[in-house]
Symmetry: C2
Subunit: 205 residues, 2 copies
DNA sequence: CGTGATCCTGACCAATCGGTCAATAATCTG
DNA sequence: CAGATTATTGACCGATTGGTCAGGATCACG
């Protein structure tokens, strides 16, 4: 029922759409929407520019497809917070999962960073809609834990902001992080320990 | 001795260069370097495009001038950390100063965010040079405090990253912050309290 | 007042961009 | 194999972009 109306895709379509999306993720995450060109995407995907436009009607459509496709994956870790679990452990696990996503998927992190910086022209409806609901659900869990005295009282939404900003910082500003740390450092390993320490101290009841 | 070789500027030059830089800050911080156009800057500064190029030789030069001019102001709060002061109070004051800068100068925050995201093509020498020295000086102070037992032991550089990321998050991702919080919230006021709480718990010896 | 330096702009240019189109090549289906 | 569908591309287009240039307006100053 989910894909009833969509015509089936040929093998070539699946392969080429995926090729284009991968090339576009490279381009958009490196240069932003306006900085990336269809030519650049086409070259990276080893095909001609008109062929890229044959699979996606416009540059905007590629970008929008990327954002909507990756948003679920990007928000997945937060939805895995288990209300029945041990509060501090659940949150620490979420923090680590988010940090690993920054390490393993920095392109995705930068894609969203550009989009939000730009004012989220392609995500406004999601920002005010789906995202807020997901956050609200997590906030409800956090507040329950706090009322039960199993977690220190902090503003739950700002707690979430802090997790997002600090973990994604390692991906979005990686160049700055590496420049400041200098060679011979593993930002993600050190950051992991730092964040673990930080949230233990902040949230211990 | 600092401006010995530079020819003196006429009143008109000072006024128009400032006008252009303000307009350019608007444009670059809203759309990024590539997204901003000289035409747009010229219109906002109420002058013709060639006249903008008369004062700044190229789009790149405007951008570079902005970055280098604003970098000092942007890093100033960190240099005001006083090694002779009370450790926790000094850091809390720095955090609050940084948060206020996000509130009062969001355009500057976004300008740097774009630049670092892009890979800092215009700041590479500064990232590896001046910035690192400034950070190193602050790190030395922090480490002294920690060794004296006046501050909890944490990785000082990651402590600085955390301050940068969380405070600038309120400026760079303001749209997302407001979308998640919903109407009737003052992100900066709430964030101020949250960050104060967080760093007290993290850094209390 | 006049004259040289500074200031300003319309018109223009080459390059690049997103996107179209007609024609060709490859693939699938009976 | 035949015919239809799908896939692919070179050539092209209008719009926009960063930047140039020649000439005119304005200003500072003796």
């Amino acid at each position: 029922m989910t894909d009833a109306a969509t015509p089936p895709m040929t093998r070539i379509q699946q392969k080429n759409r995926e090729l284009i999306l991968q090339a576009a993720l490279d381009a958009f995450s490196a240069n932003g929407f306006r900085g990336a060109t269809i030519d650049q995407i086409a070259r990276a995907a080893r095909m001609s520019k008109p062929n890229v436009l044959y699979y996606f009607g416009s540059k905007d459509e590629i970008h929008k497809t990327l954002l909507t496709t990756l948003l679920d994956m990007w928000l997945a870790p937060m939805q895995q917070i288990d209300a029945a679990g041990e509060p501090l452990a659940e949150i620490l696990q979420y923090v680590q999962a988010k940090l690993q996503m920054s390490r393993d998927f920095p392109r995705e992190s930068r894609l969203f960073a550009y989009e939000i910086l730009q004012g989220a022209p392609h995500l406004t409806e999601i920002l005010g809609g789906g995202l807020r609901e997901i956050v609200d659900r997590t906030v409800a869990v956090l507040e329950t834990w706090m009322e039960e005295g199993r977690l220190a009282r902090v503003e739950p939404r700002h707690l979430i902001f802090s997790i997002w900003s600090m973990t994604q910082h390692y991906a979005d500003f990686e160049i700055q992080v590496r420049a400041v740390l200098g060679p011979g450092h593993d930002p993600y390993q050190e950051g992991s320990a730092f964040l673990d320490d930080l949230y233990r101290k902040l949230l211990a009841p």
